[in-house]
Symmetry: C2
Subunit: 394 residues, 2 copies
């Protein structure tokens, strides 16, 4: 079987999360991803926990199926080698602060001279242009400056970061979509190009209808906890031993719910008989539902509500998710063997392609594991040239 990105070579200068996650998505589809790392330390995430036999699980997960070259970007011989590799590559990707690659002579303008059909992607906090482009951005800053933090959390509480690093993850996803569009275009025209991805732009792009509510109705969306803006009861409710999702979006589902609750009179109640009234009297309704739920565990409640034909679910912890039969059936937790760490379970790829499924070939590389191999295989370097480069490395 031909892998879909077979023969696509990616020179990957990225570190930490957004860039490595993007190139992981390319590696899963068969691209040859060559990760360029600092000699000695490598990607910062090699030092991030959790550790197994001294190897970072964070690194193993994000860098599966990649090659690693240890090259010092301050060494002119390494830069020369990289420029030779650029000629033999399809994609370059980096997530330094804007300007760093230019100082190294590795910016798009320089590299496209060597390879006009190159696809060059930069991921940064605020993008390559615009008033904030030089500001540092962590995920927390991107979520805050992209507006998402202001609408996440409870009305009485502070703005809240999402529990996952969405600034990084969404930037990675928009980047891989851009890279695939550019590869498709290049396949048909031979033309390369530059792609500029910002974490804050990516967060803004996730806001969906929150933006329209402001631009059309001049409403500034606020934090509303977990409830639905215009339907009730559609929220997270407290049961005996935890929380339950109940999702009622219309009057007929509400009738089913109150029948399950053995309080059918609520369907006729003037406060609750129509969806807009339920939303208006949401606090009272929530109190009634939680009083009823206080007699049930989460499992009991989800079962009887679902059996009554009303959408309901528990709120799974990360442990629950990892142990869930559905997660297993969907291959969303897979096992890789790392030569040092041993066996590790890492998140799978959610894109289930029938003919060219994502394949997690192997665990992450050791730092510099493929330096000599890539130079030999791709550039036909001999041992003399390899040795010369090595002697130049500090």
């Amino acid at each position: 079987m031909q892998r879909p990105l077979e023969n696509i070579r990616v020179l990957d200068f990225t570190r930490v999360l957004a860039g490595p996650y993007c190139t992981m998505l390319l590696a899963d589809m068969g691209a040859e991803v060559i990760k360029i790392e600092r000699p000695g330390e490598g990607d910062d995430t090699r030092q991030f926990g959790p550790f197994q036999n001294g190897e970072s699980g964070y690194f193993v997960y994000l860098n599966r199926g990649k090659k690693s070259m240890a090259l010092d970007l301050k060494n002119p011989h390494a830069i020369a080698a990289i420029k030779e590799l650029v000629k033999e590559s399809d994609v370059v990707i980096e997530n330094f602060r804007p300007g760093v690659m230019k100082k190294l002579g590795l910016d798009y303008e320089s590299l496209k001279e060597l390879n006009p059909s190159l696809i060059y992607t930069s991921i940064s906090g605020f993008g390559q242009y615009g008033p904030y482009s030089q500001r540092p951005a962590y995920d927390l800053v991107a979520q805050a400056m992209g507006g998402l933090t202001s609408i996440t959390g409870h009305p009485e509480g502070p703005p809240t970061r999402s529990g996952a690093s969405l600034g990084d993850m969404s930037a990675a996803l928009y980047a891989v979509y851009g890279i695939m569009v550019a590869l498709f275009h290049r396949e048909r025209t031979g033309e390369g190009q530059y792609i500029d991805i910002a974490m804050t732009d990516s967060i803004i792009a996730l806001l969906e209808n929150n933006v329209m509510r402001y631009t059309v109705d001049n409403i500034v969306p606020v934090r509303i906890g977990s409830r639905h803006p215009i339907s009730s009861p559609f929220d997270i409710y407290q049961a005996q031993d935890g929380y339950v999702v109940i999702a009622v979006a219309n009057d007929s589902l509400f009738k089913k719910l109150v029948s399950v609750m053995k309080q059918p009179e609520l369907a006729e109640d003037k406060r609750f008989h129509l969806d807009p009234l339920r939303t208006e009297n949401e606090t009272e309704l929530k109190a009634i539902i939680e009083a009823w739920l206080s007699g049930y565990t989460v499992d009991e409640a989800v079962e009887i509500i679902s059996e009554g034909g009303v959408p309901s679910s528990p709120i799974l912890t990360i442990e629950d998710v990892c142990k869930d039969e559905h997660t297993k059936a969907r291959n969303m937790l897979i096992e890789v063997d790392h030569p040092v760490a041993g066996s590790m379970r890492i998140p799978g790829n959610p894109v289930k392609l029938s003919q060219t499924p994502p394949i997690i070939r192997e665990a992450s590389p050791a730092l510099g594991e493929h330096t000599a191999q890539v130079l030999t295989d791709v550039l036909n370097w001999d041992s003399k040239k390899l040795k010369a480069l090595e002697e130049q490395e500090v």
Copy 2:
């Protein structure tokens, strides 16, 4: 200029958010997206607010640059027309409950007989297989069952939904990555395939290191508000008139911060001089920082902290984001003209491609605007055949 997805025809059966956002990302890149809608009502989101001259802003934003055909999927003549269109299309995409397309005779197995190189994508709550595949899933359910809700929010508060519909938006992003990989593969081999995307899988895929902390260290990640799990002070803090992000990830940045605060002695304080100690004594440190911030507005605080070399930002509301100069410079809010609604500002596309930038050609179509045009242009139907179909529609 050739658009990157020029000559790619997408038959789009999707409704509401995840599917329409995915095909919007294809339309932005030049694909011809033909949206198949129920006669009379169309996509549910045509009835969702906010409205401008009776037109839904939600619909206009998500369906920009698409064509609309009004076809009744219960009418055999409409199904026959769709099957003719499938032969002339590259991509089919749907987000019905698993099984619905099969009942209509429009499942992948049936359609690939008509067009073996077809790329067929299904988006659903739990995917096409696995124990939960028949369960209904709203975004709230996908966030809860994917584990994200359990780690979003404050330790003393309940689990919290993210303020944006990440179950839908992430499924759309993984789907467009899958479709582009499949299109690229087809361009090189002629082979079509089926793609199965689940909202819950997509949420699990966003959890990043939270999964590794459990699988490697057996730690079940919990809600920690907006703070950083292993660095302090890296959180959201209360100033006079709102909240401020301060992001200190190492000891030298901490020295800079306490110098800005004119409390340099804190850098020597035994509770705070090292990052792990600051995280251990995070509550005390937060109180000290917020006592200091009580003398400043958000704008003042961000300015002096940033000037001191420490990353800091405000928390922008949706209004702030929409009015921001950076948003404007990055084209993240663009204007479209709708024939009925008039001018509307909608979110832009965050993928800045230099040679083939995303182009928002026009606003969303009227319901059925292109029914006759598509049948005439693509299938060469004459007026007699068009009339016959029309008479069959209820």
